[in-house]
Symmetry: D2
Subunit: 158 residues, 4 copies
């Protein structure tokens, strides 16, 4: 029973090249300013990236142990438009922008209902799990990720 | 669409007086020992308590703004039996043990499949949102919480 | 005694317009990849900004209660060059780049010995503590901050 | 220069068998209740334990790579007496209570000036860095830790 419940939480909304997961905010996410602490958005982004990979059939744990690689953040930028607050039901989104041999760039966002609260872009590098040197993505990984490129399916996603 | 997706994540498994929520572990939850960092379990516990309150129709945000109270942790104890790891599908549980006029005690646990990874007990105090002095729980709050006491006979919790 | 000890931790190294604080890394800062988790750098940046303000005689708590304003992050970018690891003695730095009526931009960095591990730029907005709408910086605040602009000629910063 | 600055931050106050480190609170440590988030105290405790080990000449990184062991938290309890707030200068303390062949128990506390804000007890197990099975402490480690036992130096610390 518990297992089904856990599985059912991994509900995602995939439409129009946008992969999303729901995230609820708790006291742990907020700060004394009464809003969600700004660094916490990066945590939300990471949850979304990992659920997206899982949606593609890729577990980071397995990626490290079987393929010997993992993704690390090379750089990121984020813009905060409106604050998220305690008890908010957020939707964290991801779109693939660029896929290279050993890296990719994704655009991410935090939304609440029809409001976009924050947008970001994250540059990820594929590295060897041991030593963290740049490593080419295993073909099965690159293939599945590339299917999410806007050019792959859609002529004009901005 | 996004709203429904968010709502569907708040799936819980209520049976036998145990309220549970699913939690997935990400890099943000782990440490260099390769396991989930021990303090993070308290975050998981808090998520479960807040979802349980929401399940009872209580939002902490509203509790503070309308009733002028909030819960703070007075004390807690936790025992770690087995480590949680990256990519684990955990189930966080809660049972009510004691309910008083201005406090309550809940038992909490972290499970993975049939393994109980950690168990804890959290003593919460109801306090005024301004000043944090002890405050009696509003009757509507105490009533809903008390219904979860093991001694309470509950023929039809959904 | 305790008070002196606490005070002595607020040792900073101010030279060449670069304000720095030391930060040690613990298990809580690392992830299962064996390195410091990427979002944690934003926490280090925030610690540095708050110690810099304190160095200028400004406490955020007082700023909110007396002047009714606080700073929020409007946007930020960060580039990760080399990973920080467990037990690292890091030095977090800050330089002021732009100061406006209701905002400022600072450059920040994470260093270990002579290595720059990460560099970032943080755009901060001054907002009303209630409601978070843009607010002009109190003159005493803007003055002290502006003294750190590179164009400002400062014969004797203490 | 940066190195000296970093080193000078590791100032500790050792007296009467109590090892302490200073910790400042930032927005990242607080929550929307306006106080330091309860789980964050465990982070403060961990910082104190690691600085205490470092004070004994032990780095966790080296302990794992050379001796092949690390400490994990087996259980803990914490009592919160008064809330810590933004910008507080806290002093985190540690006393050794029990040292066994593969475990130890420490008492920890959070103080602000003459107020004890929280007290806790943490039971730590020494485990193999690979596999996390219980492992005997290396003699050099146990010896240095045991020197901090109250019986070692002081007849009646409570």
């Amino acid at each position: 029973m518990a297992r089904e419940t856990a599985a059912s939480a991994l509900v995602v909304d995939v439409g129009d090249g946008l992969f999303t997961i729901p995230v609820r905010t708790y006291f742990q996410d907020t700060d004394a300013g009464g809003v969600v602490y700004h660094a916490r958005y990066l945590d939300f982004f990471e949850r979304c990236r990992m659920e997206w990979l899982r949606h593609l059939g890729i577990e980071c744990r397995t990626l490290a142990s079987k393929d010997g690689v993992l993704f690390i953040v090379r750089s990121l930028e984020i813009e905060y438009a409106k604050p998220a607050r305690l008890d908010d039901a957020l939707v964290i989104g991801l779109r693939v922008e660029v896929v290279g041999g050993a890296q990719m760039v994704v655009r991410q966002q935090v939304a609440r209902d029809d409001d976009i609260l924050a947008t970001g872009r994250v540059h990820l590098a594929c590295v060897a799990a041991e030593g963290l040197r740049p490593a080419r993505m295993p073909p099965h990984l690159r293939e599945r990720i590339s299917a999410w490129l806007p050019s792959a399916t859609l002529p004009e996603r901005p």
